[in-house]
């Protein structure tokens, strides 16, 4: 027996979804933090406000932005990815050996870049496969793949530094269009591609959904495994490109090309509002995070903070930025992991 009431219409009308207040703040928090940090540094340091320094910040952000693009998709699915150092190292050495260089007679040019990125994608794919096939958490598979990547890179390195003599690749770091180096434009393109993937493709939307409620996807008849593998593969490709970019910057292939990029990319993504638990944020959020982190690094040098303290000050500001972004939408029973 159910109750029928003449008031049904009103009742229905009264429960229209209300917009949650927190949403807009959560999304704009990092951008506001970015603006604040920029304004503070600009006020403190004349060197910071120069046009050339803006160029410098953009150039410095390029590699991190590309790595973060990749890591963002993985974080969106709720997994984590620590494989950047190994994959970047492998692709950095690979590309240095494939384009014109001092170690061998290969001169594949752009094809060499493509092959290096494919190698990186294959390594990324390996993390994804280990995750879905062996059911090993991504924390471990990516840590393992990072070690494998470094090993592969060391094998290819074979004791002699490969220096590139390829004009195109060297030009990426040197030539400028509209004041920005080509590496920066590559990063901009990556962000746009990443954003489009996230917005317009099944892969991107499913990655987002996997972070939201993976079990529901399975109940809807979606096989999530291929999408997870694809996400790691795509992330690997981004790291590979980042490795190539480092090689272009340094003019040489280094095994350590990706050192430290794992944690800095994750930090950037999280600072930008991408949740580690998945299902929230995205490439644009992460890009704001990248800019925030890069501006901090640059600004602290410009302001003249002692090198001993720089890391600490940066850590403090990152924590403060996240805290400031979190406080407005804090709820009592909110889960923070």
């Amino acid at each position: 027996m159910t109750v029928t009431s003449p008031a049904d219409a009103e009742v229905v009308a009264s429960r229209r979804p209300r917009a949650r207040r927190g949403v807009s703040l959560r999304d704009t928090g990092p951008s506001i933090a970015l603006v604040v940090v920029v304004v503070v540094f600009a006020a403190l340091s004349p060197g910071f406000r120069t046009l050339s320094n803006v160029q410098n910040v953009m150039d410095a952000a390029a590699v991190l932005a590309v790595v973060t693009c990749g890591v963002t998709f993985v974080l969106m699915t709720g997994s984590i990815d620590l494989s950047a150092p190994g994959i970047m190292g492998a692709s950095a050495i690979a590309v240095a050996l494939l384009v014109a260089n001092n170690r061998n007679d290969l001169d594949l040019g752009l094809l060499g870049v493509v092959v290096a990125v494919l190698l990186a994608a294959a390594l990324g794919c390996l993390s994804g496969l280990a995750l879905v096939a062996l059911k090993v958490p991504s924390f471990m598979t990516t840590l393992g793949v990072s070690a494998v990547g470094l090993g592969v890179a060391t094998l290819m390195f074979a004791g002699v530094q490969p220096n590139i003599t390829d004009g195109m690749l060297e030009g990426w770091a040197v030539d400028r269009t509209l004041g920005l180096s080509h590496l920066t434009w590559i990063a901009v393109a990556c962000v746009l591609v990443g954003w489009s993937v996230q917005r317009w493709t099944r892969l991107g939307r499913y990655a987002y959904a996997i972070g939201g409620a993976e079990e529901v996807l399975a109940l809807s008849g979606v096989r999530v495994a291929p999408y997870k593998v694809a996400v790691f593969t795509m992330a690997g490709a981004f790291y590979g490109l980042a490795g190539v970019m480092v090689t272009s910057q340094l003019g040489a292939g280094l095994v350590q090309a990706g050192k430290g990029y794992d944690f800095s990319a994750i930090t950037a993504a999280v600072v930008g509002g991408t949740l580690l638990s998945g299902g929230r944020g995205g490439v644009l959020h992460s890009t704001v995070g990248v800019l925030l982190v890069t501006v901090l690094t640059n600004g602290l040098v410009q302001v003249g903070v002692s090198p001993y303290w720089q890391g600490g000050v940066q850590g403090l500001i990152v924590v403060a930025a996240v805290a400031a972004a979190v406080i407005p939408q804090r709820r009592r029973n909110q889960v923070t992991k």
């Binding site: 060197g47 390195f157 004791g159 040197v174 340094l250 003019g251 350590q256 090309a257 040098v301």
Partner: protein
């Protein structure tokens, strides 16, 4: 504490007198940070060359710049058969040397260390620690500082890229730069930052410093060649050709850069020789050709010969070769420039 003893059973102290080893029983171990660095790879290759010379093979160990891992490898190594063990070790930092030395002393392995050693740790206090070899960082820091001052015409602003702050090499070299600055009062140190001996970090730091100080930067002093090469890339990207760059180590790329004229100076440190000489000293003592008591105190901790390399003499250094003669037991200390003060 009942049941406790000082030592694990099995890792007994020096049981056999030095010199009792059959040359074929000697185990040669070379340990450096990693093989993904040309200088250290060349070091290990030098060790291999020496081992081949005496009909042995070298066990190559790398610890990836990780102090704890270095200690772990050493203690594992010393837990095995140590009677005729010869170790040529590059400690990761000053603080890593004492436990390695104590371990070798207790286990009776023959140890030569290079580069890093706390100043107050005396080699002569130990029997198994045969020798410590390093280059005079203050001298090399000053040499390239002077070369830089000369290259920028004796006056102008320079920036310094420091190495890993917690290493003696980084500190000595920077002290050398300060001596050079005192001698060249018109040269101004605009900024010093650390780039951790890393090419990639040097690139970023240099870019930032270039925008911070702009055209005031006339020269870049880097505490090693890797950072100098990173700085060169940054200069190239910034389109600056008027900045002089100096480094230390004489890695092949730096020599090429000096040949090209893009880099001003570096100081040689001979990796292959270092890789061979440490094993050679240990091998000579282990096989009895050299007795620890006979090694002069001055040869227990010494500066090895180094050269300032500029465009004038770079051709002499482009292909470092080790010669068998360097490793003869009678001449293992021939490159000494004197004791570490």
């Amino acid at each position: 504490l009942t049941g406790c003893t000082e030592e694990a059973v099995g890792s007994a102290g020096p049981t056999e007198a030095a010199g009792a080893c059959d040359p074929a029983d000697v185990t040669l171990v070379g340990q450096v940070r990693n093989e993904s660095n040309p200088y250290e790879a060349a070091w290990l290759d030098g060790g291999d060359a020496f081992a081949e010379q005496v009909g042995l093979t070298q066990e190559r160990l790398t610890y990836d710049g990780d102090s704890t891992r270095q200690q772990e490898q050493i203690s594992q190594l010393l837990a095995g058969d140590t009677d005729c063990l010869v170790m040529n070790v590059l400690p990761n930092g000053d603080s890593d040397t004492p436990p390695i030395v104590e371990g070798a002393e207790a286990a009776g392995a023959f140890l030569v260390t290079q580069w890093n050693k706390p100043a107050d740790l005396a080699v002569t206090d130990y029997d198994q620690w045969l020798s410590h070899i390093t280059y005079d960082g203050v001298a090399s820091g000053k040499q390239i500082g002077d070369a830089l001052a000369e290259a920028i015409g004796g006056s102008g602003g320079i920036v310094a890229l420091q190495g890993i702050l917690d290493t003696g090499a980084a500190k000595d070299r920077f002290a050398g730069l300060e001596e050079s600055l005192a001698a060249n009062p018109d040269v101004e140190l605009l900024d010093d930052q650390t780039a951790n001996f890393s090419r990639a970090e040097a690139l970023e730091v240099t870019k930032t410093l270039l925008t911070k100080h702009g055209d005031d930067v006339k020269g870049i002093w880097a505490a090693n060649d890797d950072m100098a090469l990173g700085a060169l890339e940054a200069l190239q990207q910034a389109g600056r050709t008027d900045v002089a760059v100096v480094g230390i180590d004489a890695v092949p790329d730096a020599l090429t850069a000096i040949e090209d004229g893009t880099m001003t100076a570096t100081v040689s440190s001979d990796g292959p020789w270092q890789g061979g000489i440490g094993l050679a000293i240990g091998y000579c003592v282990a096989t009895g050709e050299l007795a620890v008591e006979d090694i002069a105190d001055d040869d227990r901790a010494w500066f090895a010969e180094q050269f300032l390399i500029t465009s004038d003499n770079v051709a002499d250094f482009t292909s470092p070769e080790t010669s068998a003669a360097d490793f003869e037991c009678s001449g293992v200390f021939s490159r000494s420039q004197g004791p570490i003060s």
